[in-house]
Subunit: 226 residues, 2 copies
């Protein structure tokens, strides 16, 4: 653990087909935060090859109309070169449904999810990768609302919370789909660095914040907690 | 111009220090749209080198605490290799204040902003690059609220609209800061592809939409239209 919160070593997992906003929403907040606070970021992938955002130039599944519509970003580390990490963040995306392609990510998470980790976080269907480690069993978590039932199937022993913008269970922070990750991250910054800093950066982002319990999308997708 | 809206050739400018969410908010919407609609995307930079997001590993200006906190993305085209474009989108960021570094982008915009262009769009302080071409003189536009007065100085003959989430003037679409670009893009998708499609993809993004006239940040930053 860092000696104080300003020294966090943050690892963000990236894989082919991750959802762009699952990474660059929270990172926009963290990029802003670290204008004044010291932290380090590692973008961790299976290899150092550029990673396709949202989709591959070769369609990952049928029905994708525009294979010529894509972006790529560059990892900074692989699983074997990643430094010690205080915080791990896992994005989602349709690609999480490819269990074979994402298994090395689940293995990496299993190996790094120890008592020494300060925070584990997921955005959207990234929660499915956490669930697949088995280490989230019995803990409270949430995920993307349109994909909720599938995500639940990846961790039947997780205590899935259907209606929440994000869920905090100790050092485990999980958000609902896509944009919810940014509200969670701003909420985490508020928790760690104070309300003034969180409010200021949210305003600079002109971000329309939603609170932790404000989740109209659960009902929209027919999810109700029993 | 494309024979129909499904054939748009979209060029997104990227430069060192662009604000991450200015690109990946709108692109998250467009990436989702183009799961079912055909379009092409070019990420256009001065060179094919990776582009630093939000900041450089060498601080662009003093006071940035974490040069080890950065991400890079890859252009697909340079100014000289960019294809014919129907839509150009310009992000913002603190880097837009570097007039020398961004002049080649202004020159590119000047050369491509012709009557053949279907839509010109900017997010955040990207409007300053449009203003610097002189081609926005006399037209309605908006920009980032915290940086508004500086942006106004880059185009004194533009009709700057202080209070607006985004502004539409014919084929010119300009948004307020950072997150506002995503509301604008979802609004543009609604305008071009219909309400059902826009609503569906906003819900899949779990995006908390703000309407075109909903701009609490103008007042927050002391901007009032005379």
């Amino acid at each position: 653990m860092p000696s104080n919160h300003t020294a966090f070593s943050i690892g963000y997992l990236i894989f082919h087909g991750f959802t762009s906003l699952d990474v660059w929403g929270p990172l926009a907040a963290l990029n802003s935060l670290t204008m004044n606070e010291t932290a380090s970021l590692s973008l961790i992938s299976q290899t150092m090859d550029p990673v396709w955002v949202d989709r591959s130039p070769i369609p990952l599944r049928e029905g994708i109309a525009s294979p010529e519509f894509y972006e790529t970003v560059n990892p900074t580390h692989t699983f074997s070169t990643a430094p010690d990490l205080d915080i791990i963040i896992v994005p989602g995306g349709g690609a999480t449904r490819n269990l074979n392609a994402t298994q090395p990510y689940v293995d990496f998470l299993s190996s790094r999810w120890t008592d020494d980790l300060t925070f584990m976080m997921s955005v959207c269907t990234g929660a499915s990768l956490l669930a697949r480690t088995g280490k989230m069993d019995g803990r409270n978590a949430t995920s993307n609302k349109a994909a909720f039932k599938w995500v639940m199937s990846t961790g039947p022993n997780v205590n899935w919370v259907k209606k929440a913008r994000w869920v905090v269970d100790g050092n485990l922070w999980t958000s609902s789909g896509v944009s919810a990750g940014t509200d969670m991250m701003i909420g985490w910054i508020e928790s760690e660095y104070g309300t003034d800093k969180a409010t200021n950066l949210a305003n600079l982002m002109e971000w329309n914040r939603m609170g932790q319990d404000n989740d109209p999308f659960a009902e929209l997708y027919g999810l109700t907690d029993d």
